[in-house]
């Protein structure tokens, strides 16, 4: 099938699919006219990539996951390790965001938000 159909069925933009080919994540065949010809297996790979990216795995993690996926003899421990690392990352990011949220929510609630120039948000940012 052509890239348009793959895009539709995988949910990935055509630009992204071409990019994934560029960086060697998929290798579609080529028709005589130069059009990319995707097999069902390519579609599956792309859908896999879409889901892995949706979970926040980096492209390089995705590459590894793809290899693990295709290696019928891999140990599930290898996959679990990657997923756990990603989980740790997510938890770190969550903490960071929660802290930002708290500070900002506090400041917003302190700020009158009217047409007077007085503003606790800026005061805080200026270090006072």
């Amino acid at each position: 099938m052509n890239i348009g159909e793959v895009s539709e069925r995988s949910g990935l933009p055509t630009k992204t699919i071409r990019y994934y080919e560029d960086i060697g994540l998929v290798e579609p065949l080529r028709a005589e006219n130069g059009y990319r010809q995707f097999r069902e297996s390519d579609l599956h790979k792309l859908a896999f990539l879409g889901r892995a990216r949706h979970m926040g795995f980096s492209i390089e993690d995705c590459r590894t996951l793809l290899h693990l996926w295709e290696d019928r003899t891999r140990a599930s421990a290898d996959v679990k390790k990657l997923a756990k690392e990603r989980l740790v990352q997510i938890d770190r990011k969550l903490e960071e965001l929660k802290e930002m949220r708290n500070t900002l929510a506090h400041l917003v609630s302190c700020c009158a938000g009217d047409d007077r120039p007085d503003c606790p948000i800026l005061s805080d940012l200026s270090g006072l």
Copy 2:
């Protein structure tokens, strides 16, 4: 003062400070030997920027905040608006991350993580 001292006192890497000058966030003077000469006011600006970035404001938001900060007549409502928008962004990102976390945590707990090839994480990613 020279860039090294400003870096130390603001907590920003020298590279970042030069970059901020490039994009017009600060405009230090120059000594005869070509070295940047920062005033106290420049240091304050940079520290302000550091804190704003730490709250996750984009560079463009920071530019706006800086203008508002320097405009003694601005309405606090303008600042509050920006902060609220940032808060909404943070909340969206938090939701996204929490969902990732849930899915991933579930999968990790389901995965034996031993040397058998069977792995629910990959099964899920492959869409089964």
